[in-house]
């Protein structure tokens, strides 16, 4: 049905007097409307705000104050002057993963209460529903990252990065956030219940721990090391760490961007297909109309 989402001509419609023929579509206006709604919703969902910022900050404090002393002695920290400088990039990436829980849950709530179905019965630019959700969520995640950075500075994080390196780090984080957020959207659209939508992306939060986030992968047993080096978050963490410490990043940036692009594309395609085909694919009517025949 999306191919009708441009200007639809109904000049031949039996019931339409000649002349007043088409339905005008407002892509920008509808996206702005949806974005306002989603941002309002996010600002009022205090629990989600606290979770998105709280999880990485909790890990930050845990690793800096509880484990940091011991870890600092036992590992070589890739040129980082102190343990917090080493561990922060992994926790920033964790913030991006935590953001996925937010969008996945919010999207699933929208699907189950039926407001997305309401939007779909209206003459609006349909992609605005998805685009605005992703943009709003990505903005929230980026704001959370700023807060996590702030707290890290407060507890002793220092960076040698040049302005250009900071700019690179910001660009990298924006790209990571936007692409991963599409994946979070897909989780939310595909989830059958709100609970599964909020639990689905949870393993991603822990993934930076089983990578180069907390300790160098060289210290791990072979099998695990193999996984830790090649999992998607490690190149992202390595790139961010290099940029923040002002050290060499090699080709890790390219691998990181490739992973992001791939995961983002997966999320995009998955989201669109679930969004467009929900009732046909599942064989059950969509949300908002329970009690329907097949249930």
């Amino acid at each position: 049905m999306t191919n009708h989402d441009t200007v639809v001509s109904s000049a031949k419609a039996v019931a339409t007097p000649s002349g007043s023929a088409s339905v005008k579509v407002y892509p920008l206006r509808d996206t702005a409307t949806m974005l306002r709604r989603n941002v309002k919703q996010e600002m009022r969902d205090k629990v989600a705000i606290i979770a998105c910022i709280g999880i990485p900050v909790l890990f930050l404090l845990l690793f800096v104050y509880v484990f940091g002393g011991a870890l600092k002695e036992s590992v070589k920290l890739a040129g980082a002057p102190s343990y917090i400088d080493y561990v922060l990039p992994g926790l920033i990436i964790m913030t991006a993963a935590a953001g996925l829980i937010g969008i996945s849950t919010q999207t699933s709530v929208d699907m189950t209460v039926g407001i997305i179905d309401r939007f779909r019965t209206m003459a609006i630019f349909r992609p605005s529903i998805l685009i605005a959700r992703v943009v709003a969520s990505a903005l929230q995640t980026l704001a959370s990252m700023v807060v996590v950075f702030g707290i890290a500075f407060a507890v002793g994080f220092r960076s040698n990065a040049t302005f250009m390196q900071w700019l690179g780090a910001a660009g990298l984080l924006a790209f990571i956030t936007v692409t991963l957020t599409w994946l979070g959207l897909a989780f939310g659209l595909a989830a059958k219940t709100v609970a599964s939508a909020s639990n689905g992306p949870f393993p991603l939060i822990l993934l930076p721990l089983v990578g180069s986030g907390i300790v160098p992968t060289a210290t791990m047993p072979t099998g695990l090391r193999y996984f830790a080096e090649y999992q998607p978050f490690s190149p992202m963490i390595n790139t961010l760490r290099g940029l923040l410490l002002g050290t060499s990043i090699g080709w890790s940036w390219l691998i990181a961007l490739a992973w992001c692009a791939g995961l983002g594309l997966l999320g995009l395609v998955w989201s669109i297909s679930v969004f467009n085909r929900r009732d046909r694919k599942r064989g059950v009517p969509g949300p908002g109309f329970p009690g329907a025949p097949t249930q």
Binding site: V8, V14, P17, K40, G114, I124, F289
Partner: protein, 325 residues
């Protein structure tokens, strides 16, 4: 919203049909949910699709509202083909589902203004209409409160108000009173009636409540197992079920037996309750005739029952189920 129809000089004959369905079919896997539906809803009328849970009512609404694709058949809503011109359909319809499709983080007013923006009204139009609707739906005092603080009835009213925000000309209400208490149901009925009275809208509603269809609808179609088993005005449907009855409860077994002998085949007896059900029509004379044949002092109480849609429904769907098994 600028689409008008039924005007002379249009490209085709004046249209007085808001919704036209022919040969509509839909299956989910092996399960046939709609099995060749034909119906026609005149503009400006209230049409009730009556059926039990699982009859296919919601599937029907979802297809008409462009949410779900049919497997076969033709549907025109306001003259627009739902497959070829879904956007034109969406620009004239409003849909309220069984559960409140509101944003609970927003206030009632913000929900309405969100709808105003999506209908592309001006700021002024939006504020004006939202104030009107809040007042009409008795939500003016709660307008600035977040929706998650609302009772179920308030949420349903807000949901309907959101549907009306863009002044849709055809409104789909999928079980609009499901889950409401009797008072909430009355309020909703009054609102629906006032809609039809004050504005030239067409309403397509689904319900499992026969009383609701009887109260609101000009035309009723009974849907059972994916098929329309009867269609007509409430009065016409009632006419398809043989007359009413008088229910007589007696004070003693002997009086009960005597009366039962008196009526013979015309009555069905319930020996446990000492109750006789005697067929009558809706005339006073037939009731008088029944009472004149018995000793009225031996009757504990009398109930008169005129046929309602319940009887129609049971008669029709019962038959249809028997025929299939």
């Amino acid at each position: 919203m600028t689409v008008t129809y039924g005007q002379p000089g249009g490209t085709a004959a004046a249209v007085s049909t808001a919704i036209e369905v022919s040969g509509l079919r839909k299956s989910f896997g092996d399960q046939v949910v709609l099995d060749g539906i034909d119906l026609s809803v005149p503009e400006g009328s209230v049409f009730a699709l009556l059926g039990p849970n699982g009859a296919g009512k919601t599937t029907m609404v979802r297809i008409l509202a462009t949410l779900s694709a049919a497997d076969a058949g033709q549907v025109r809503v306001a003259g627009h083909d739902i497959v070829r011109e879904p956007m034109a359909v969406r620009s004239v319809i409003g849909v309220t589902g069984q559960f409140s499709a509101t944003d609970t983080y927003l206030t009632a007013e913000e929900n309405l203004l969100l709808m105003a923006d999506l209908w592309h009204l001006t700021k002024r139009q939006g504020r004006q209409r939202s104030a009107e609707l809040l007042k009409l739906f008795d939500l003016a005092d709660a307008g600035r409160k977040p929706v998650f603080t609302f009772s179920g009835g308030m949420q349903r009213r807000l949901d309907l108000a959101m549907t009306l925000m863009g002044s849709p000309r055809i409104i789909f209400l999928d079980e609009p009173t499901a889950g409401l208490d009797p008072r909430g149901r009355r309020t909703m009925w009054d609102l629906i009636r006032s809609l039809v009275r004050n504005q030239a809208v067409t309403i397509f509603l689904t319900t499992q409540y026969l009383e609701e269809a009887d109260q609101l609808a000009d035309l009723v179609a009974v849907l059972d197992d994916g098929e329309i088993v009867a269609q007509g005005t409430a009065a016409e449907l009632k006419g398809r079920v043989p007359g009413g009855h008088a229910l007589l409860t007696f004070t003693s077994a002997s009086a009960f037996d005597a009366a039962a002998r008196q009526f013979g085949d015309r009555a069905s007896r319930n020996d446990e309750d000492l109750t006789l059900q005697v067929a009558t029509d809706d005339s006073a004379r037939s009731v008088q005739d029944v009472l004149s044949r018995i000793d009225v002092d031996s009757v504990r109480h009398v109930t008169l029952h005129t046929p309602d849609l319940d009887d129609v429904f049971l008669a029709l769907t019962g038959q249809s189920r028997k025929a299939q098994s």
